[in-house]
Amino acid sequence: MNKKFIVVSLGILLSAFILLGLSNLIFKDKVIYSEGSDSYLDNMKVEITYDDYKETNDGYEIKVNVKNNSKYIASIRDIKLSPQEISNSMEFRGIEEYVENGDYIMGINTEGSKGYIFTIPKGIYFDKNLIDINNMRLYYSVDFYRYRIGENTLFMSVGSMSDSILLKNNLNTEVLYINN
């Protein structure tokens, strides 16, 4: 019995070693979950560019364009604009642009884009010496989803990112500045 046991055990060990060796070779750089899919970091990006500004009855509207360059569906969680000097106290929240005759869908599809509008209300003035309206900082955070179910539902989050960019605009700033 002992001889047979040793032969069988060695056979089992050998086959296990072969399987392990083969697996290590085949799965050389696909060992853990994060390596099993395409690289996440490169695929979660949105591009935000300044579009335009216009003056309305409510105030001065700055519009930015958010383009989804990733292969997932992007959904902006929040997007805020604020002059750098007072970014801790005051920020303008961005609202999705209302498109006439357009169908509202939640999130931004791959290769799609949406506009977001920040309104600086009339009646607020800034001190020219202390605050620079032309170089404001835009903070945004985005969630990425993999599937879309209908127009209003996104399914299966793959990750989220947040960042801030410097937004140069060409607001007619004389209107917003008040001189001491």
């Binding site: 055990s9 089992i12 060990l13 296990a16 392990l20 060992v31 979950y33 970091l41 399914f155």
Partner: protein, 230 residues
């Protein structure tokens, strides 16, 4: 012994019982592709594990309902060959299932969430080997009839700590990447601190499982050769 293994293959894979296996595969495939994309995440582990487990337990089941144990031992077959054949059969089945799942999932297919990774193979091998190592000696000692309901419970109870260890090892490997920070608390945190990747990693864990498997074979041999078959 080779013929005993062949007999196990024939009873479990070629006759009617293969329907249950095809059903499991069909259910998982349908769930993965059509209904729950989330399922794709665990299918490469669940499928080979469940199928191998069903096949191996079925080999015991069909031996018990056919009464083949007494019949075979009346032939000039050594008792230890029964034990060797069952263990080798289960090993061949798990290797085959891993190979088949690699053929299907080897790359990222059908726009699935991920392809097969080494961690899946480690999960399947270790959970299967240690569950088998725990339930086979009991089956040999008490007979399949008495162990029928306990088999699954013991396998599941045994698989929980093993999958925990494997996931902590994977977490430790993730934390080594430059862009990743990992936050662990509680018992997982303690395991996370203890595990040193040089000594405890996927390869050494699999080797330990194989050694436990061989040790369980030794125990089954001792039990079965001394057992009276009535």
């Amino acid at each position: 012994m080779i013929n005993l293994i062949k007999k196990d293959f024939i009873t479990t894979l070629r006759v009617r019982p293969s329907k249950s296996i095809l059903m499991v595969i069909a259910v998982v495939a349908i769930l993965s592709i059509f209904i729950m994309p989330l399922f794709q995440y665990i299918a490469p582990v669940m499928l080979p594990l469940i199928v191998s487990y069903i096949v191996v337990i079925n080999s015991f089941y069909y031996d018990s309902i056919n009464g083949s144990e007494r019949f075979i031992l009346a032939l000039p077959v050594k008792k230890e060959d029964m034990v060797y054949s069952k263990y080798l059969f289960s090993l061949i089945i798990v290797f085959l299932s891993i190979f088949v799942i690699y053929l299907f999932y080897g790359g990222i297919i059908f726009d699935s969430i991920r392809g097969l990774i080494f961690q899946d193979v480690v999960y399947v091998l270790n959970i299967f080997l240690i569950s088998i190592a725990c339930i086979f000696p009991l089956n040999f000692k008490f007979g399949y009839g008495k162990m029928q309901s306990l088999n699954l419970i013991i396998s599941i109870m045994v698989s929980i700590p093993i999958s925990k260890i494997i996931s902590v090892i994977a977490l430790k490997m993730e934390s080594l990447k430059p862009t990743v920070t990992v936050n662990v608390e509680g018992f997982t945190g303690i395991l996370f601190e203890i595990i040193d990747l040089k000594y405890v990693n996927f390869n050494t864990l699999t080797i330990v499982s194989i050694l436990i498997f061989i040790f369980s074979m030794y125990i089954s041999l001792k039990i079965y050769t001394k057992k009276d078959i009535l």
